[in-house]
Symmetry: C2
Subunit: 408 residues, 2 copies
C-alpha cells in the first residue's frame, strides 16, 4: 500500500509538482520527455505540470533538443528571474539569513549575532526583520518578486498557526511569531524548526537526493533528528517527530533539562561533550567554561594535533553517539544517516570514523548492511537552505489558489 | 510533499484500490458516492476502481438506495463467494492457520503445536502445509477460489524472494520457504513477519483504522514494532524496520542474544520478565523454569489475586517498557501505540495502567498529548488476520496483470 491512498487528487498534483521541479533543478535544462522517464509520470501529466510552472514564472522555455528523427523536444529550465526566496536560521546565538533564486542558488547572506540575553520575542523578531531586509538589499532583490520566507526557529513549532509553541532554551511558550513578523515583513512566511529544514535540504540537495528513507541528525547544543520516509519529510501526528535527543540511552543516567534522565542529548550535545572532557580532565586547557563553540573547536584542534585527552573525548562521545545511531538504524532501517549542524561539522571525520565502528557493533546485520552514514556535504547553512526550500514548497502548493497571486 | 511523488500511476491505482476496498469492508454495503466522499477520490475514479473489483469477483452489486430526488444509487458489497484467503502465523511454539472470506471474516481456524526440537525447515514447512490443508477442509473451501495465503514467520524475511533470511531462535539462514511450500500448496504465497502482519491487521481492522501514524508493539518471547506512517505499512530500506526490541535502553545492561547489551527485549520480553521475577524472588512459585507461558499466566493470576511480588514484577516491567515506549513516542510522534501479542494480552490492563503512568513522566509534552496507548482489541490472532490481509493486498496489486488470473 502506498500512502497516497489517503490523499486527494490535489495532494497528488502538488506532490508531483514538487517532484517535477526537483528534477528540473537537478538536471538544470531538461525536456518533458526526460522528466517523464525519470519520475514515472505520464508525459501528459508532466506537460501539464510544467505548463503550470511556466505560467507561475518558476520555469522558462530555453530552446529545443534533437530527438533522433522525432520532433525537436522543448527544453525548460528554472527561471532565474522568477523570484527570490528567503531562508532564515534562527539559533540561540545567531540569526542567519540567506537569499536564493528559485533554483535555490545562493544570492546573498547576512548573519546577525544574538546575545544570550537578547531572547525576548520582540528582540528576536527585530533581528529577523533587519536580517531579511539586509539580505534583500544586498541581493538587489527589491524589484523581484519574493515568493516567500522560510523561518526556522528552535523547538516545537505550530507551522499552520505560525506559532513557536515551545523553545526550551528561551523558555518561550506559544509566541505568535508569524503575526509579530508580519508587521515588518510583507511576504508569505513559513515557520518550522531546524530538524525539518535540515532534512528537507538534504532531500533536495544533499545525501537524500534519490533516496527514500533518510535521517538527518543535527548535532549542536541540542540534538535531534529530521526524518524523511518514502522520499518526503515525516512530521508525525503533531509535527513533533524527531526528538531523538530525548530518547533514553542510559536508564537513570545524566539528568536532562527535559526532566528525564539519560537522554541521548546529555551525552552527545555540546554540553554533554564538555562534560566528558571535564570528567576525563577537569583542568584541561581545552575546556572553555561557558563557551561551547570554543571548547568544541579546541577538541577538534586537539584531535588533529594527536592530543590523547581529545582523542579520548571523541571516543567517549562516539561510544554514546554510535549506540544512539544504532538504535535509530534498528528501529527505522533508513538508507542514509547524515550528521549535520555545527558540532558534526567541527569534529568531522575523526568522530565519524569512531561512530561507524561503534554502529557496526550495535546495529543488526541487515539494517547495518543497508546504511550509509555520512557528514553533511551541503555547502553553507543547511537550515537556511532547507527553510527556503520549505518556502518554495509552500509557494508551489499555493499555485492555482488565490494565495499564490496575493504577492505577485 | 506527499510521498506518492516517487510513485507511478500504477502505484496510485493499486493504493486507491486498497483504500476503496477497505472502505467497503468497513461500511459493509455502500454506494460509490459515499466511497468518493469518504476517500476524497473523484466519483469517476471510484466507479472505475469498483468496476475492476466487480470484474475480479471481489465485490458484488447488491441493490440500490434512494438519493432524495436523484437517480437511485447502486450499492456494492464484498462478494462472500469471491474467494478465500489463508493467514498463517508461524511462531516458535505453534503454527496457527486461519481461513477468511474476502471481507476478512473468519471462516475456520486450525492450530498445530510445534515442539521446540521441531525447528528444521522441512518440519516447519510440513506443519504449515498440513495446517493449511486442514483449514481449507474445515472451511469447506475446496470449490472456492483461493486468492492467496499470507505466511508470517519470525525474524527477517525477504518477501520478494520468499526467503526466511534469518530466524534467530531457530538459527535459520536464507531458507527458501516459498519454494519449499510451493510443492505442497498451489496458491499464491506471500511471506512476511509478525511485526508487519500485526500492524496491517490494526490498520485495516483495529486501532489503526482511520489513523495515519500507528505503531504496534508485539510483546512475546521476542519484542518488536510494526510501523505504519501516513496510513500505510512502513518497511524501511530493506524490510528490516521495527527492531525496537534491539534498541539500547540501558547502556552496558543485560546481555542480549543479538550480541548487544541492554536491549529493550532483555527487559520486556517474556524471558526478561521472568528474570525480573527471579531477581525479586528466586523461589517464587510463579516461576516455572523453562515455561514462559505458564510463568506469565501465573504472574497475571498473581496480580489479580493481589500478590505483592507479582505486582512488583509488573511495576518493574512497566518501568522499562514505559521508557522504551516513551522513546518511540519522542522519536516518531505517532497517534496510537497498540500493545499486541501474547504477553500483552495476558498481563493486560494492570500492565497498561502502569505503562501509561511511566510514559507520562518520560514522553515530551507535545507528542504525549497526541498519543493513545491501548491493548489490541482485535478478536482472534492478529498475526493470522494480518497475514491474510497482506495476501489480499497482494491479490489486489495483481489485478489486471497476468498473475491475478493464474489461480482462477
Amino acid at each position: 500500500m502506498v500512502p497516497i491512498a489517503r490523499g486527494t487528487s490535489r495532494d497528488i498534483r502538488v506532490a508531483n509538482r514538487f517532484e517535477v521541479l526537483r528534477h528540473i533543478i537537478a538536471g538544470s535544462t531538461v525536456s518533458r520527455q526526460r522528466i517523464a522517464a525519470e519520475t514515472g509520470l505520464s508525459l501528459a501529466t508532466v506537460s501539464n505540470l510544467i505548463g503550470e510552472l511556466l505560467e507561475a514564472d518558476v520555469l522558462v522555455e530555453v530552446g529545443f533538443e534533437d530527438s533522433s528523427g522525432g520532433r525537436p523536444r522543448g527544453l525548460v529550465s528554472v527561471n532565474p528571474a522568477g523570484g527570490v526566496l528567503v531562508g532564515v536560521d534562527v539559533a540561540e546565538t545567531y540569526v542567519h539569513v540567506e537569499l536564493f533564486d528559485t533554483a535555490l542558488s545562493l544570492l546573498a547572506s547576512v548573519e546577525e549575532e544574538l546575545h544570550p540575553e537578547e531572547n525576548r520575542p520582540a528582540q528576536v523578531v527585530g533581528h529577523i526583520v533587519s536580517g531579511v531586509r539586509a539580505v534583500l538589499a544586498r541581493g538587489g532583490a527589491a524589484p523581484r518578486r519574493i515568493l516567500g520566507a522560510g523561518i526556522s526557529v528552535p523547538g516545537q513549532v505550530d507551522r499552520g498557526g505560525g506559532v513557536s509553541v515551545f523553545a526550551p532554551n528561551w523558555n518561550w511558550h506559544d509566541i505568535p511569531l508569524r503575526g509579530l513578523l508580519a508587521d515588518g515583513l510583507s511576504m508569505p512566511l513559513y515557520l518550522d524548526n531546524p530538524l525539518r529544514a535540515a532534512v528537507v535540504a538534504e532531500l533536495w540537495f544533499g545525501a537524500g537526493r534519490g533516496r527514500e528513507d533518510v535521517i538527518v541528525l543535527n548535532l549542536g547544543t541540542g540534538v535531534g533528528a529530521g526524518l524523511a520516509f518514502r522520499g518526503s519529510l515525516y512530521r508525525g501526528a503533531t509535527n513533533s517527530a524527531g526528538e531523538w535527543g530525548h530518547t533514553t540511552l542510559v536508564l537513570d543516567g545524566r539528568p536532562c533539562h527535559c526532566g528525564g534522565r539519560g537522554c541521548v542529548e546529555t551525552y552527545v550535545g555540546a554540553p554533554g561533550i564538555m562534560q566528558h572532557l571535564r570528567e576525563l580532565d577537569p583542568d584541561s586547557p581545552m575546556l572553555r567554561a561557558g563557551d561551547q563553540t570554543a571548547t568544541i573547536d579546541a577538541l577538534a584542534a586537539g584531535v588533529r594535533a594527536g592530543d590523547p585527552v581529545a582523542a579520548k573525548v571523541i571516543g567517549e562521545t562516539a561510544r554514546y553517539l554510535g549506540v544512539a545511531i544504532a538504535n535509530v538504524i534498528n528501529l527505522a532501517n533508513p538508507e542514509a544517516i547524515v550528521l549535520s549542524s555545527w558540532v558534526a561539522a567541527r569534529l568531522g571525520e575523526p568522530l565519524l570514523d569512531e561512530v561507524r565502528a561503534v554502529v557496526s557493533r550495535h546495529a543488526l546485520r541487515h539494517p547495518l548492511a543497508a546504511i550509509d552514514i555520512t557528514l553533511s556535504e551541503l555547502v553553507g547553512d543547511p537550515v537556511s537552505l532547507g527553510a527556503a526550500t520549505l518556502a518554495l514548497e509552500g509557494f508551489l502548493s499555493a499555485i492555482g489558489t488565490r494565495a499564490a497571486h496575493l504577492h505577485r
